[in-house]
Amino acid sequence: MTINLNFNKKSEKSAKIENLSRRSFLKTAGLATGGLVIGIAIPTQTMAHGKKIEQAAFNPNAFIHIQENGDTLIYCGRCEMGQGISTALPAAVADELEADWSRVTVKQGDADEKYGPQATGGSASIRRMFIPMREAGAAAKLMLIAAAAKVWNIPAEQCIAKNHFVINSNNQQKLSYGELASLAANITVPEKPALKAKSEYNYIGKALPRHDQGEVVVGKRIYGVDTKIPGLKYAAITHCPVFGGKLKSVEKSAALAMKGVSAVVEIPRFDVPYGSIGGVAVVADNNWTAQQALKKLKIEWDLGENQSYDTQAYKAQLVKNVESPAQVATERGDLTAAFASAKQKHSATYTGGHLSHSPMEPNASVVYVEKDKCEVWAATQAPAAIQDVLSKYLKREPKDIIVHVTMAGGAFGRKFKCDYVHEAAVISEKTGSPIQLTWSREEDMRTGYYHSISAQHIEASLDNNGNVSGWLHRIAFPPIDSLFNPATDRPSKGDVSAADDYPFGLANYRSEIGEAKAHTRIGWYRAVYAIFYGFSFSSMADELAYKAGKDPLIFLNNLYDANEIVEQKEQVKRSKNILALAAEKSGYHQRANLPKGQGIGLAIHYSFQSYVAMAVRVESDGDNIKVLQVDCVIDCGQVLNKDGATAQMEGAVVMGMSLALSTEVTFRNGAVVNSNFHNYPVMRISDMPHVNVHIVESDIKPTGLGEPGVAPFAPALANAVFAASGKRYRDLPFKPMTV
């Protein structure tokens, strides 16, 4: 998910490391004292909805705490939702620290401005924190060495740190990190500690197992929905089915008469980003009773201005909006001349539907609002945004909202927007009890935030050599900005920059923006706009290759070779490299030998500063589609955890396959028609193709992988189906379920 793409272009300031072992605020941050505590402040310039956070003197985003018994805690302020960040970053710290990984425990940091912004999205954690986290580890190591040198009264150069010990190289005497921790706390933090060479890594770049999987396989990992505290009451909720509607009346008596039901709470719409859209909740002794009582409410809604929203009609309108001239965003070269002198022209329109994140853990949180205290336990991607919303609702200071960040059972962007926490707070405030609110699957699917519905129309011209000479790209989708500014009626120039900056560097190019007002809540969904941009660019390139009578790979290379934009040189080089690898690894060059009815399609997408190419092999007669194999090549610079990187790509293929083939959220009469997994058919195990992940060896600064794998799958599949059958799919999903 992207918060502010422009951030990527700014120069990134270096981190600050401080010795906090004697600082009093450790207690307020909930950290035990004793031993050596190092804090890392990583400059972060953005947070949710573009608000800038000014850093105070020293706000560490992460801590290393080496205790006197040697056990080492690494606190991670970034949120874990399955992407593996709570293993990858602490392992990088441990590597520079020369720590024994088996002595390291990773702790999730609570919401605290002392950690700096914790909002986790945009595949940004590794990109921003790889160097600072390592520097902190390296600094702590040097302090432990200096402490040992003092004990032995020898120069530090004669000491070696290894596997949780400092060794005296003169006599092989050893001191453990635990023995040294408190002594090291008196050492001045070294500035700019040297980092290890790649050849010296113990953990970085290896396939280190997730730190928490032992708890997962025995059912002991605690997610947001698992929180239990004394006196807990359980709430179930239903919302107005149409966005913008409100409660007219509710007949509560039948629900209140049920044994175990203690309250029915009306929750008005709270008009701040990530506030509740409004609903009615029932409070009971357990989830089941609350759910049953909810069904007994007789509710009348005033459905409001979006009650005629119909995605089929809306999509048809979007198509019209992009198939006729629209608002010009960017122009380069002379498109009119290119089209006038074209040897051939080709145009196509691509569409995509709304998607529901549908993480396996539904929205859930525990909130206890007391007179002078408010405590939250929730799976979230944005702890500070929870503090922001609750502080506005309760009229308290954000720092007085305590947010315990739990493991998220999947998130994919949904848990950035914690309306479910605000709702639990309202219920707790009104009932005086600690409340666990759990949304049903149906509420999640019907009243969530949705990936944007979209249409794109591309017209392109080919010159006498069969090369692209002109490219018109029209785009319409209700943008995420509509969440923050309801007057928004089309994407902004920034929203289409991914098309404008596509590394084909199209010389004669124009982008145009079509009207697209939002009629529901649009929100970041894993890979965000890259889903439809990846689909249109890689699909159109493939269509044009056939039009020109060229091999799609050669055609793509020609496109990259024609890119004369100097700033995109590296993108061109890395893109061509992964495409070549995807072709080689997948057997693309031998595709003439495939059995009849099989085909291989290629696609590539650069997003979140990482590069992913996919070669998909299918068996298809055009209607039936069986995905056989996927070869996925990634170039994300240095890889922190090979196994984690591989897992992210395998998962991206699965999510890509769901959205390519079958998942779409349909609105009719303003409301979502889908309700649960029987009519929102996500991919299952029998659909799983064989996925091979190939990682480009690199020394370049690492970039993230949580999202970039999703975009290239759908176009690679469309191109493969075309290669196998001659049928071209231009609408996501290819095989929508009629709901």
């Binding site: 939702m81 399955g82 992407q83 593996g84 396939a207 197992p209 997730r210 928490d212 999987q213 032992g214 997962v216 396989v217 025995v218 059912g219 002991k220 990992r221 997610y223 929905v225 698992d226 239990k228 359980y234 002794d285 357990n286 989830n287 089941w288 009773t289 759910q291 549908s358 993480p359 396996m360 853990e361 539904p362 493991m407 998220a408 059972g409 999947g410 998130a411 994919f412 759990t438 049903s440 699957r441 196994d643 897992a647 395998e650 998962g651 991206a652 293929v653 699965v654 999510m655 649960n676 997994f677 029987h678 996500v682 991919m683 299952r684 195990i685 029998s686 799983m688 064989h690 996925v691």
Partner: protein, 156 residues
Amino acid sequence: MDKLININGQNFPIDVDNDMPLLWFLRDRLEQTGTKFGCGGGFCGACTVQVDGVATRSCVTPVGILAGKNITTIEGLSENGDHPLQKAWLDNNVPQCGYCQAGQIMNAASLLKENPKPSGDEIDSAMQGNICRCGTYQRIKKAISQAADELAREVS
């Protein structure tokens, strides 16, 4: 007197509404949260437990009909977390978010009881009801085959 249900070797009185699904009896009454709520309609498999050894969706199974039955949940699959499936899950680094994995493992354990050497297609068909949104299917398949191999070695 309340009827009893045996969960992971221990008897508990069924002191709730008979219609309450086993899932909520486990999670809210006994506060055993290893069994997960995913969909509430038996579509996703996250809530899978075993009833007398047979994989069962606890979100759609009323606790009242389970009197005298033996329930095994993820917390009780093995004493030390060393069931061949649990070991294979760790060997293959299966979990991403991990939320669906209890249901996956419990369903797979029931499969291996019935069919100790399942083919790839048999794994697909037995595991079809368990959704993983993170997309760990390839590893789940591999881990089940690996666990089956280990079980075969233990038997021989």
